[in-house]
Amino acid sequence: MTKRRIIPVVSILAAASLALTGCGQSNTPTTTAQSASRSSQPLTVSDTWIKAADSGMSAAFGTIRNTSDKDVTIVSAAAPVATMVELHETVMGPDGTMKMQAKQGGFVIPAEGELKLEPGANHIMLMDLTKPVQAGDQVTFDLKTSDGGSVTFTAQAKDFTGANENYTAGEGSGSAPAAPAK
C-alpha cells in the first residue's frame, strides 16, 4: 500500500489545486497533500472507499493515521459529489437502536495513533449527492484540520448493502437509510 505524508499547508487554496491534480488512478487510494513543510503533524489516509449510491446519501470509510506526537483534529470534509459532507459518529439512541449523528468537535486522531472510519462507526457522511456515485468511481475528498492543514485523498466507490444506520439529524427524521444502494 502506498501512503504519503500529509503536511499542513499555509495556503489551503494552493494545496487543494495541487492536490487535486496529483490524484492518480491508483488501485489503493492514497492521500496527497502539499508542502510548506515546516510542521510536524503528518496524516496518512489509507484503505479509503465510498458506498456507491445513485442519489441521496452515501458514506466514506478508511483509516486515518497520525504519525506525529500531537493529536490532530479533523474539523470538516468536502467532496465534489455532494453538497453537504459531515463527520459522523454512530451512537446508541435512547430507544436502543444505533443512530448516526454529526461528531461534535470533529474527529480527533490521537498522536501516533489512528482512527478507523467504518460502517456502523465513525464515517464521513455525504448528503445531497449531486450525481450518482457508481461502483468503481474514484471520488476525491478534502479534509481540513483545526490548525489549517488539509488532507486530500481519493476513495474507490464500492457496492455495499450495509451501513444503513438511521440518521438522527433534524427533527424526527430518524429513519432515512444512510445510502440507498440501488
Binding site: 479509503t48 457508481q134 468503481g136
Partner: protein, 415 residues
C-alpha cells in the same frame, strides 16, 4: 510472480527435519511421533514433507499478485480451484468495464496478500490466503465491449468435436475468474468478495469448483491423480523451464496474443465412474498406456520414463496400443504442446445415479489453434478413453498480462 510466473514461496524446512530426529534419534515420544512411526511401518518410508507441523504456516503463504504475468498459471497448483465465468450486462460501456477490472484487481491484490478487501465484511477470512491466486481471463464478448483489440485468434471459439456433448451451462463467458488456494475457505471468501463487486456489472454464467489432494497430503510437485485413479499430467512442462515458457507464453515460432499473455481452454470432462467400474485393471491401463500404480508408461518402470511406442508384445501387438490415450495425445510435432492445470470435480449426482464426476481440464497455451486444437483433433478421431469420458463444457479465454501496483489487469485494452 515475476517474469517466470512461479510461486515464490519457500517451504519451511524445520518440521520435516524435526520429525526425522524424533524417528531416528531414539527419543521419540508423544502421539505425533507414534503416528509417524506407524506410517513408517505400514509402507515405504515417507519422505519428510515441507510443512506438516500443524503450525498453520501454509495459511500465511502468499503468491505475489503484481508482476509481468498473472499468477495462477505457473504457480504450483493449489489444492482447490474455482472457475467462474461471468457475462457483462447488456449496455456495459468500455468505461464501466474498466471500472470493473479495477475493482476486481484491487480486491485480488488485497486478498491474495492476506489482507481484507476494501468494504470486506468478512475481512478475517482474508487473513489466511493459503497461496490464494486470482487469475483473470477475457472471453470474446469482453474484447468486443472494450472495442480496442480484436478478439485474439483461437479465443473466438473452438472447432466442433464429434465427442463433445456440450451443455450451455458450462460453455462460454465474457470474463473468467480463476480462484485457487490451498484452503477452500480462502477460495470461497475470495469468490464471494469478487462476485459482490461484479454483480452490478455482470451476471454469473457458470461456476466450476474443483480440487486436488489437500495441502500436505503428498509431497508438493507430485503429479495429480484424477477420479479414475490415473496419474494425470505426467508429461506437463515444468513451470520455469524453457519448454514451459515456449508452450505457455510463446516464442518466435508460436506467438501469444500479447506479451506475457497466454490463453486458457477450460473443458469440463465428465468421467463415467460407473462404466469405468466395469473395466478391469489391465483394460484401464491399456486405455491410457500407463500403469495405474505410478503412472509409468507400459513400456517403462518409472513415471517419467519415456514411452517406447515401437515396443511390441511377444505376439506382435504394440505394448502401448494404437488407441491408447498416451499415444494419441502425444504429438509428433513438438510445437503441439499444452500446459495443463486440471482439477477434479465431484458434483451432486443426478436422479438415479450415484456420481457426477470428472475433470475441469484447464489447458494453457500461447496459441490455441496451433497447440490445443491439433491434440484435441487427434483425441477426437481416436482415443479409447473416449468410451468413459465426455466433454460437456467448453470455454476459451485470453489470459492478459499481469499488472504493476497502481495498475489493473486488462489495462492494455484501454491504453
Amino acid at each position: 510472480m515475476g517474469s517466470s510466473g512461479r510461486d515464490n514461496t519457500t517451504p519451511k524446512p524445520g518440521a520435516g527435519v524435526r520429525r526425522r530426529h524424533l524417528l531416528f534419534g531414539g527419543a521419540a515420544a508423544g502421539v505425533g511421533a507414534l503416528a509417524a512411526v506407524g506410517t513408517q511401518l505400514a509402507g515405504k518410508p515417507v519422505p519428510p514433507l515441507p510443512s506438516d507441523s500443524g503450525d498453520g504456516a501454509n495459511g500465511a503463504r502468499t503468491v505475489p499478485f503484481y508482476g509481468d504475468r498473472q499468477a495462477g498459471v505457473g504457480t504450483a497448483a493449489q489444492a482447490h480451484g474455482v472457475f467462474l465465468a461471468l457475462d457483462l450486462k447488456e449496455g456495459t460501456t468500455p468505461e464501466r468495464l474498466k471500472s470493473l477490472l479495477k475493482l476486481l484487481s484491487d480486491d485480488a491484490a488485497n486478498l491474495t496478500q492476506g489482507k481484507a478487501a476494501l468494504a470486506d465484511t468478512e475481512g478475517e477470512l482474508a487473513l489466511r490466503p493459503a497461496r490464494l491466486t486470482v487469475t483473470f481471463g477475457f472471453g470474446p464478448g469482453l474484447f468486443r465491449v472494450a472495442g480496442t483489440v480484436p478478439v485474439p485468434d483461437g479465443v473466438s471459439g473452438l472447432p466442433a468435436f464429434s465427442i463433445d456433448k456440450l451443455v450451455p451451462e458450462f460453455c462460454g463467458g465474457d470474463l473468467l475468474l480463476q480462484i485457487c488456494a490451498d484452503d477452500p475457505l480462502s477460495v470461497a471468501h475470495a469468490q464471494r468478495m469478487l462476485l459482490k463487486d461484479s454483480r452490478r456489472f455482470t451476471t454469473v454464467r457458470w461456476v466450476q469448483t474443483g480440487f486436488r489432494r489437500a495441502y500436505g497430503t503428498e509431497q508438493s510437485g507430485t503429479t495429480m491423480r484424477n477420479l479414475f485413479g490415473q496419474v494425470d499430467g505426467t508429461s506437463n512442462p515444468v513451470p520455469g523451464s524453457a519448454e514451459f515458457e515456449k508452450v505457455v507464453y510463446g516464442d518466435g515460432g508460436t506467438g501469444s496474443w500479447a506479451l506475457h499473455g497466454t490463453s486458457l481452454v477450460i473443458r469440463r470432462i465428465s468421467m463415467d465412474l460407473d462404466k469405468w467400474d466395469e473395466l478391469d485393471r489391465s483394460g484401464r491401463e491399456e486405455s491410457v498406456g500407463r500403469k495405474l500404480a505410478n503412472g509409468a508408461p507400459l513400456t517403462g518402470t518409472a513415471e517419467h520414463d519415456e514411452p517406447d511406442f515401437a515396443a511390441v508384445t511377444p505376439v506382435g501387438f504394440p505394448v502401448i496400443a494404437d488407441f491408447a490415450h498416451l499415444r494419441r495425445a502425444r504429438p509428433d510435432d513438438p510445437s503441439q504442446r499444452i500446459f495443463r492445470r486440471a482439477f477434479n470435480y465431484d458434483s451432486v449426482p443426478g436422479a438415479g445415479s450415484v456420481s457426477d464426476s470428472g475433470l475441469i481440464f484447464a489447458s494453457y497455451q500461447a496459441d490455441i489453434g496451433r497447440q490445443f486444437v491439433p491434440i484435441q483433433r487427434r483425441l477426437d478421431e481416436l482415443d479409447l478413453l473416449n468410451l468413459w469420458t465426455t466433454p460437456v463444457g467448453s470455454a476459451v479465454f485470453a489470459i492478459p498480462p499481469g499488472c504493476a501496483p497502481g495498475g489493473f489487469v486488462g489495462e492494455g485494452l484501454f491504453a
